[in-house]
Symmetry: D2
Subunit: 442 residues, 4 copies
């Protein structure tokens, strides 16, 4: 190992503490004000160059931005919970991205690690059977929960920062630590990519804890991320007294029901997985009123951009057709997108090589099935299209309930191996970049 | 009575024979070649002025015309069954209307009687429990049946012609006997109205046997005919192998299913009865092929033209929306229409007056609910809008199964009373037309 | 007039004040704690015998009772707004009915007046164009509004109590003033009927202000109240990750969409108006989760109990079939019912007679179309089935927006005529009851 | 090569003639009376032991049997076209399977070749652009076409019989030639498997021409056959006059439309391809009648038995739920099934080895994607579960339109290579069976 074990042990212990604090204060996508402020503060303390907010997020590329009221409430809560007001201003309006850069002593490539920071609109299990509740760090934000482990990603990212900041003399090239907001819904990556955050990156790694992986095992060859589009749909009709003047109504709920059936009935694509889901439908205001408004949240997915585009095209036709049939207005808004991307085996192998000497860690180079969609894929595609290498690595960490459930929990002991392997790999990659990464050095 | 009873008895006996011959040889709407030829031949024998085919039917107003093959097959059948080839030529292409005029000795108004001639695509019950089968005049045309009694209307119409031809000296004004094709589906009346057939009519009566009326009772005040539109809809998509290339298909059957649900879900109108029915749906060719064709036969109805128009407007939106959702082509064809009309009470009362001396006949002047839709209403509206009087009279005639069933049957003995009352009323009306009919005399 | 005009003028002025206070403090059905306490207090002050809560409402007959939390919150609000705590206890749990009885000096029949007290979940227009806002009595309870005029009914009912309490010497028999909760949704009448509230009533009158009636005109012959059932439906399926394990889900939203289409597609009844409406649908929790819960609020209506029962039967089949198709659980809860009832013309004529001498009031005895459904019909049916007379009277009172809109408003000046006619009629009815009411006197 | 080239040339020429005769006289599944009679006659002439009809088809396992009328009509046609009446009797009722066995001079394993014989309900292109039409062997059976190449399979199977019958001295073990009816719809294989036809088989090969393979190339490793179930569904409701008594109807068409939407909306399975298709829907009899009957032909498919079973289970729930919602009766009949199966590589390699010396033939051992479903898989599974080897081989043969189209055509020149390789492989397999086949010799 390039760095001594005791250093990793300290970083691990701090990561556990950080994770528990974040777990207790979860924040939804694009409202990670407190989280981002903690990240930025810590990175500055460690001496990294830090860029924030609009510097690292392109405004025009944002979709699915929360309402002004939601942004405001989360902002106030972060303030109330002690976030640095000066930093917060940089994030105002939902620009909650942070990028820290550590320039090494020697020339070499740019190696980036990307973690995501947002939580989910899920009410966490508060029973003592659920470890975070038992240990006292259950969510203090009602109805919001780190049910996908992004708290652990931030904690590990800061752990890596800590170790590498102290090992700057051994860094070749530079290290970029990317803290992305709003992975859920596929909203945070594109604005950071469009802001050029990875335009100089030679080797890129994104991580995700995986409750279906084995604790102590890392899987740097993840495949099968689904391309997806997330849509919000609003039907607007005309209300009428359902008993007295039914013919005067234009029924938005009926349009939404027709659209729902039509969406689920879309012919699937022969070339791979194709998915559609209407996850939320809210319509109408009173029992005896022809409903004049309906709102749907839906998504389509596919094993490739082509399939996802086919599903999207068909979905739009179905929605507009249902609106036309009911003679109601309709508005379709894209709330997020994800794409597909494959991990480069050269990079995965370099990670495996770096992990060789690390105790109690195993690297499994076989393809690991991605659980769903991920917008880290936009970073990966950007890096690869400029000639760099990219990998998406699952940190096996099974414990509690599945992802996106009220009892989701992970095995904190896995942080240590992950931080260690990431640091060792980053240092190795700088010193001896794999083929594709070699051509460009800062 | 103006005419002696024995004359009516003879006309009645002939009417029964005529009816049984027609019942045995039923013909669908616009293919009543044999029927119309029999009618025209008989009217000429009786000395009426006879107009035929295109003389009494406006070509541009026709909808729901059978295919050339269907027209041809029915034509050949009529020839084979001995219809006069010279007459048939006048009906070629489905112009099967006949109008006979009897000019009276004295001046007076124009009084018209309208009967319809077409049968239904129903397979008649051939068991001995069914009187026409027992008596040997069950339909000889497989799958076609006089299941609504139009055979009896023609028979009574010819009975009236016979009596009045012999009573010409007592006719004031003139009498018009209108034999209309294609009442089923609402296709025959409009072309005759547009050809001007009732433009000179002062008093107009249409008749219909009614299995829900009492035998021996006439109901000259029928109300509640529903306005309606009959539509044929063809969806055309794209076939594809359902297992191998589902995404390449554009599913016409799915469009038809969506349309069906949307149609039945149309908000009904507060102002009266509103109906919609998809009576027939045929789609697809093979189990494992995404269906590329679907065909629907549907109708909308309403208590008023306004309601029927509302239903029609919504139906078209639903159908086009469903097609758009499935990305298939659609073609909507109007196959028939009916409207509403009310009987004039002055005319109904005149009929009741004429019936006063007729034995075993009762006239019920209370409003009688129409069983469904009727295109005689177009004649009625035309006569009324020109200042004439119109009535729709049900001839109570209950016996066998309901209208449009395989066991429909009527009480032939009612012909006599009906012929008698019609003749007596026509003669009386000419001599002493009610108020509204008085203003114009030929 | 039996009572002098000045007395009516004072009652009118108080009614306006009462109405404005109630308008400012609207309460939803079965939570009319403050309103009922004001009513009970006032009736007691006036010397009426007062029965409350469970004395006048049968617990087992209640449906659509708000949740414990909603009942609690409304109760606390009433307390905070100064309602008498001792009285409130009688209403606890949503037993908010009040009945006051005034026994006359002479023998005679029992004459009852019924008014309703509940408001609607509508946010009142707060702009100065809306008179209650301009005059300072716009709703102080956010999202709740007296948008159907029940505040005016209570005010008029208390006005009648006031006048009659001072005129006891002229009362023959006794007068019952029934203050009913929860007319909206059809929930309040049945428990009062089942508690026997009208079992001794000879003449029964229910009133309703009508924005489509003319100010100054009373319509005591209202017809066409639709029988109805109000249903809440909950579908419960199984959540699953829509991208990762779609087959593990059981889609409650899909069941609700299928049910919605099936409900609107129910064949309407030939015998009269038949209505169905899914007014509210809420389903699902997240875009990428197969929805495991769906909630629908719906209603069916018909021109007769038979039609409404047919619609209800079909609705239940459709809902259960949709649940079975989606393999989800379903629960159907009846939230309210209304029935049909006709006003007795003898009673209506008696009212007209009493109104003859009242200045600036007109009584229109022609049938007046009911705007929708009403559960006062249960009182009417009960009184009529025991041999009494019943009438439903609309107090014409047009001004602002339609019923159930944010800008609903009425013409307060109409209170005076209504109070006057009601008092004069009640006194007359006692002195000279119409035929049917004569048989029983207290 | 074991047999001289001239022998293959003669067999090839006869195969072309046979194919053209069969192409001109196509027969639907379970009505292959003429085809089976030709096969049996020829096999007997060649000296094979021939088993027929019920000897090789288990009656209880049959599904999707044509109606008695259809069977009768096809039988009469075969008689009229000169099929041997004595043989035909063995096939009566649709038992149209034939198995010929050739016992070799030496001991050895049982090697089987299976071909299918049925045609499709497709009207063949009769234009001169279509080679069978140009060459004079276009289908003489209107609306029936060998659009999937089973005519060529029979021709090649008889070609193999001819060569091997003349080479009996070189056969080790025995050769079974299986001529299966009704592959389309998945109806013919299971009854033959249940009759024990392959219970003694050590090596089994099924063939299929493939318009997407290259002419001259054989693909003995076909993967991805979809498991499937084919269902016919009949909904039976109650007719009613749509205008007059809509509430009396129970709408079977509506049930079918609801079922259609529900079927297409079934959540797809994460573990592989899942398909559903409603290929045919026919419902209703008249425009103005609530439809009392609806008939659907549908299928579900999956990449595994588990997935297909999941789809089948969901489909049945959807269909029964839709029927319950509409209160109509429903009957679901299984019309056919297919399963999955993998080719054994040892057998594929043996075929490749035997093909090594054959001129102008190439064997491609890479996995070749199956185009859809196949019931040969039941034979394969049976052979494999008893320890034998099985392979499904595509004979690349691209020319005209795709499978199941009106212009499907194949390259006849490929017959020669296929017959040659099959004969050489069968002879080799007998002499030197691959490992798994060795254990059992006759």
């Amino acid at each position: 190992m390039i760095v001594e074990e005791a250093r990793y042990q300290r970083a691990f212990e701090e990561a556990v503490a950080t994770r528990r604090d974040l777990h207790r204060h979860p924040e939804l996508g694009l409202t990670e004000f407190r989280t981002a402020a903690i990240v930025a503060t810590r990175l500055r303390e460690l001496g990294l160059e830090v860029r924030l907010g609009r510097e690292v997020m392109d405004e025009a590329s944002r979709v699915g931005v929360p309402s002004a009221a939601e942004l405001r409430a989360a902002y106030e809560r972060a303030l109330a919970e002690g976030a640095d007001p000066a930093l917060l201003r940089a994030f105002e309006g939902g620009f909650t991205g942070v990028v820290g850069t550590l320039r090494g002593a020697q020339a070499g490539p740019v190696v980036a690690l990307r973690v995501d920071m947002d939580a989910l609109p899920i009410r966490e299990d508060a029973s003592t059977g659920h470890p975070p509740a038992r240990e006292g760090f259950v969510s203090a934000h009602d109805g919001i929960m780190h049910a996908c482990g992004h708290d652990t990603h931030v904690a590990m990212g800061l752990g890596v920062a800590e170790v590498l900041a102290a090992a700057r003399s051994r860094i070749h090239g530079s290290v970029k630590l990317i803290f992305q907001p709003a992975e859920e819904g596929g909203r945070g990556a594109v604005p950071m990519v469009r802001a050029g955050v990875v335009d100089d990156v030679d080797c890129f790694v994104a991580i995700h804890v995986g409750s279906d992986g084995e604790s102590g095992t890392l899987y740097p060859v993840v495949t099968g991320h689904l391309a997806s589009s997330k849509l919000d749909v609003r039907f607007r009709g005309r209300a009428a007294h359902a008993g007295g003047r039914p013919e005067e109504g234009r029924n938005a709920l009926l349009a939404a029901a027709q659209a729902t059936l039509g969406l689920y009935a879309i012919s699937r694509h022969h070339a791979g997985r194709s998915r559609v889901n209407v996850g939320v439908l809210r319509a109408g205001s009173g029992r005896n009123v022809i409903p004049d408004e309906a709102f749907c949240m839906l998504e389509v997915r596919g094993d490739s951009e082509e399939i996802a585009d086919y599903m999207l095209h068909r979905a739009e036709a179905v929605i507009r057709g249902a609106a036309a049939a009911a003679e109601v207005e309709v508005e379709i808004e894209t709330m997020g997108r994800t794409t597909t991307a494959d991990s480069d085996s050269a990079l995965a192998e370099a990670i495996a090589h770096a992990a060789a000497g690390v105790p109690s860690v195993r690297v499994d180079l076989r393809p690991h099935q991605a659980p769903g969609s991920e917008d880290a894929t936009y970073f990966m595609r950007r890096v690869q299209e400029r000639g760099g290498l990219a990998a998406y690595m699952v940190v096996g960490s099974g414990t509690g309930g599945g992802h996106h459930t009220r009892t989701f929990d992970i095995d904190e002991s896995t942080f240590k191996g992950a931080i260690t392997v990431l640091c060792e790999a980053i240092l190795s990659l700088g010193a001896a970049p794999p083929e594709a990464g070699r051509r460009r050095a800062n």
